[in-house]
Symmetry: C2
Subunit: 548 residues, 2 copies
Amino acid sequence: MTNKNHNWASQRDEKNLRMANATSIINNKFVRTENAKELLETLIQPNDRVVLEGDNQKQASFLSETLASVDCARIHDLHMIMSSVSRPEHLDIFENGIATKLDFSFAGPQSNRISKMISSGILKIGDIHTYLELYARLFVDLTPNVVLVAADKADKQGNLYTGYNTEETPVIIESAAFKNGIVIVQVSEIVDKLPRVDIPSDWVDIIIQSDKPYQLEPLFTRDPQNITELQILMGMMAIRGIYEKHHVQSVNHGIGFNTAAIELLLPTYGNQLGLKGKIVPYWEVNPTPTLIPAIENGWIKSIHSFGGEVGMEQYISARPDVFFVGKDGTMRSNRAYGQMAGQYALDMFVGSTLQIDKYGNSSTVTNGRLSGFGGAPNMGSNPTGRRHSSTAWQSLKPTDNPLAKGQKLVVQIVETYNSAKKPVFVEHLDAEKVQKEANLENVPIMIYSEDTTHIVTEEGIAYLYKTNSMTERQEAIEAIAGVTPLGLRSNAKKLNQLRNKGIVALPEDLKVNRLAAKRSLLAAKNMEDLVKWSKGLYNPPAKFRSWS
Amino acid sequence: MTNKNHNWASQRDEKNLRMANATSIINNKFVRTENAKELLETLIQPNDRVVLEGDNQKQASFLSETLASVDCARIHDLHMIMSSVSRPEHLDIFENGIATKLDFSFAGPQSNRISKMISSGILKIGDIHTYLELYARLFVDLTPNVVLVAADKADKQGNLYTGYNTEETPVIIESAAFKNGIVIVQVSEIVDKLPRVDIPSDWVDIIIQSDKPYQLEPLFTRDPQNITELQILMGMMAIRGIYEKHHVQSVNHGIGFNTAAIELLLPTYGNQLGLKGKIVPYWEVNPTPTLIPAIENGWIKSIHSFGGEVGMEQYISARPDVFFVGKDGTMRSNRAYGQMAGQYALDMFVGSTLQIDKYGNSSTVTNGRLSGFGGAPNMGSNPTGRRHSSTAWQSLKPTDNPLAKGQKLVVQIVETYNSAKKPVFVEHLDAEKVQKEANLENVPIMIYSEDTTHIVTEEGIAYLYKTNSMTERQEAIEAIAGVTPLGLRSNAKKLNQLRNKGIVALPEDLKVNRLAAKRSLLAAKNMEDLVKWSKGLYNPPAKFRSWS
């Protein structure tokens, strides 16, 4: 047995000691803005595990700037845990000698710099995760010492209102508040009465008003102006050859113009096909503005969201039958529950990618660019623990095995050449090289071939789930890979064999009229149209406003 | 576009109307115990989707009794959504004509009756889920009209304290509170000041004091008295041949004497092997009393839990370095986050089952007994969306594919004959028959062969992940299936081939001394020993107390 005097509350004692050292600047949980640096230097200790909130949209920017400025003689060797490495100072923290190790999910805007810092040894990667598995580890082997998060408002008692962008704040706070971690929150405003309480005061240790509101990116906004006719053609094929064919009821769309095109085709092309009420009433997706016409046209019963979207606030508040909205009239998002739903409760994931290899593995990690994973691998995977059935899921069930079950539809929509005129279909993913350069345990594949059930290009659809060998799978991919080197391996005979087996479908097989793939088919052709559809409730950020 | 006068807040209006109809019995959220039936008859409407809280441990028993007593002329055709069908009145609700459709996860105690009610057509199954996917659907296509949940205490403002058994209350409430659902909470007590706020008042519509505290089952308590020497032998093999071999750091144990044996062997056999500090510091598991010796002996860094465990309250409060405990000194559990961690953040799941077929598929659904799934398929599956690496996970990576990744260890520990002297290893699962009887879409398999990486019996360990064909997999299973009909297909020659390939290991291959597999090797031999290890802090429920 253990020593009788073993202290089983050592973490709590440590927390209390740190808090006691900061009493001179803490007034009943509240700390003045100008004392932020002193606060962090007092409450954080070398080698701490520190969670810094920042998914791809919402950033605890005041706290990250403050952390990047602390004295590295006092605070060093931190192990940072961050959903997203998005802001310059996220990496300054490492360059400034404050942190050395990083566990993260996504590094879009900083993906070049992070690659260089890994090679130069300034930054050591713990691992790269999907959002959901990173949250999961906060309760197992990455329990934090300190968490730095952001909320809209606090009341005088210390309760928090996170507003539309609740996102990952609750899951991060819960992991610390109940395991002796210190919860430090930046708020944009301190008020007498909150619209509603999102996080109870009991879970919060420190509240500090930020110098300016936290950073928030309109990441899911796509201007319909930029949707091309090829994307419209692919969208039409997807609607006929996938959404309609499999009776898809619930879906997540990735970020991109390909899926934006589909959203804008539902109230036009979808209506022509008589599909309203028959497909995709249920969505797990951020409140992307290109969904407004489909919502207004009565296509959508429910949208649960990971986060909010800048400019959509008033529109969301006015559509509580569709969005998740509190009694106070403002949205509640939740990134952890959203990813959970995205994995387990949906018929289909539809995304895009930068490269697809000959087997059907895909990745957005390309040379010199370690972009991480975000949520796509989670939603773009077939959860083998799923036990409930749906028509779409069952439609992919193999017929040769009485013990078989269905499968999630995981769809990649890509043009065969990307916007930089490089082939999307490649012999080997750049990710294979990146694995070696960054010394990663595995090739950073975003979505594996085994999980990918359909690929849509401007050529046609490959129904990969129907192939019964890796050779046939490769042939199906080649058949829709256009004039990329992979595509050139296909020929008319092979193509027709695959079409006859139903493994590949061309637009004519789907009765999709190529000539109808015009921009005039989009329910909204530009941002102004979206505002009109919203009856003036959608308020696009300035950078998306090209009209007066 | 839609009608200008379309009401986009119809769900909210409907909720407000129902609440207005009940104003005479609602006093600032609070309703008197004796008005419970009238309340439900006013707030619930025919065809509603109603979530009734009740996982395998914690039951909103006052509200379920009340619901079973309502007038079926007023309330009928409800669609019930319940994690667990555990109490008689859960099925009375259907027999009494109040509900017709059921989506659920687990039906342990009611598994016989539920089978009969399906055959007789009284009850129509929506589907059977794992816990996590049922929670996921609450945000997508099963958003509830009304939720009936349980908490320990409410304060006068309507904030809730859920105590040790937070479990699934937050995820259920969130799904309703932000989608115009009505949140009705039974509390055991109304107080001036809560120990802490678990759920903010803003998320709650109605609080009603129950006539007695909610039902709570000590489901995870196993009396060491009942652990057999065969189970000890299997535990020793598992520790050497799996935990040690794969350097397993994080684990979930299912309910059962097999895993209880392992827990009680860590401080004895594990110490003899010098494994303390080297294996399983991180756990996602309910606070099972048989973990007390391993905790006291310094094996365990962290335990996050789905729920509490009756009798463990004081012990947990005194061990905040290990358990998740709030500032108030009481535990916070969370079933949704626990299942999320169980799926994505663990190296290994270890469970037991009632039947395993020749391929390695297993199920606890047996003839006449539709037990459902609970959490096992979720934790006992290989999440293909996982991207982070660990030593154990990587140790299962196939060596013949440069694009391969690791795999979760999914271990079944079973004696070849179960306690009813029936063979566990069978040609066909009873579940195949149950599929037909209950008209289920798929065979209710608990854990599929493809996810099962190891099987341990009293004969030895089959390393299924090493097999490279279904034939070899079947041979490996036969080799450890003892004298069951399946086991008799094996012979000495095949066994030795498999041992030479490292696909099967016998105790001697693992250097496990069969003669040492004695009850004296258990760190605690009975409940009294567990209480002693806990320094008197563990307080077993009466039914587990055989001493004074």
